[in-house]
Amino acid sequence: MPTPNRPLSPHLQVYRPMYTMVLSMTHRASGVFQSLGLALLVGWLMAAASGAEAYATAARFFSHALVRALLAAWVVAFWYHLFAGIRHLVWDAGYGFDTQTARRSGKLVVMLAVLASLFTLALAWRHLGAQP
């Protein structure tokens, strides 16, 4: 029996925009974005497993400015998704649902993601010059 007009649960367009909502969307977006990065990660590992020549080709690809910008974006996505994911796990355990706590944990997630990203990008910075 088809039931075409079943009620929908409230979704994005229904709510007044709030930053907690943006954080939730960013969690998904950063996850999808990292799935694309997985292809590059595996390409890098395959190149390393294929030998020095293939690795050199991959290294040239990864040293392209656009790819480096993408790698930096993946670093930010990684940390954001990790901290936001931990926030979700805490929710799944049943804690932190009240508005005040949810807003504060959201800010904490962004702060931690920014700090960890800056630290990681600083670590990555020293690899930019030499590619022996």
Binding site: G51, Y55, L82
Partner: protein, 128 residues
């Protein structure tokens, strides 16, 4: 009078125990990746350099190889599960949705197989 739903009305229309498993696997893989992911990023970025010799020597060490294997396998699984949820939420039309999910699953199996093979070859395959 039959009290139950007809089987044709319910098959393929939602969770018949699989949904909970999917939900749990997404969370357990995320917990594992919180550790494995941080290990991978830090281990790679603290290498003396990212040249062929350094990277292959690093990946050949058994401890690194085991964690690397787990990292790529769990990442691939988490990615497949996570993208499926996004597709289920945003792709309209049951047929298209199923097609996209199956294609994504194929892509993930391909990527996962490649990743596992690469890590094993780096660990035990000797010189390329």
């Amino acid at each position: 009078m039959s009290r139950g739903s007809r089987i044709g009305d319910v098959l393929g229309h939602g969770s018949a125990r699989e949904g909970v498993q999917h939900w749990w696997q997404l969370r357990t893989t995320s917990a594992a990746l919180a550790v494995l992911g941080v290990w991978f990023v830090m281990a790679v970025l603290t290498l003396p350099d990212l040249g062929y010799a350094s990277v292959t020597a690093w990946a050949a060490r058994p401890f690194n190889a085991v964690l690397l294997l787990l990292f790529v396998a769990v990442t691939t699984w988490h990615s497949a599960l996570g993208l499926q949820v996004v597709v289920e939420d945003y792709v309209p039309g049951k047929g298209v949705r199923l097609l996209v999910i199956v294609l994504l699953r194929f892509a993930h199996v391909l990527v996962g197989a490649a990743a596992v093979l690469a890590v094993l070859k780096l660990a035990i395959g000797g010189r390329a």
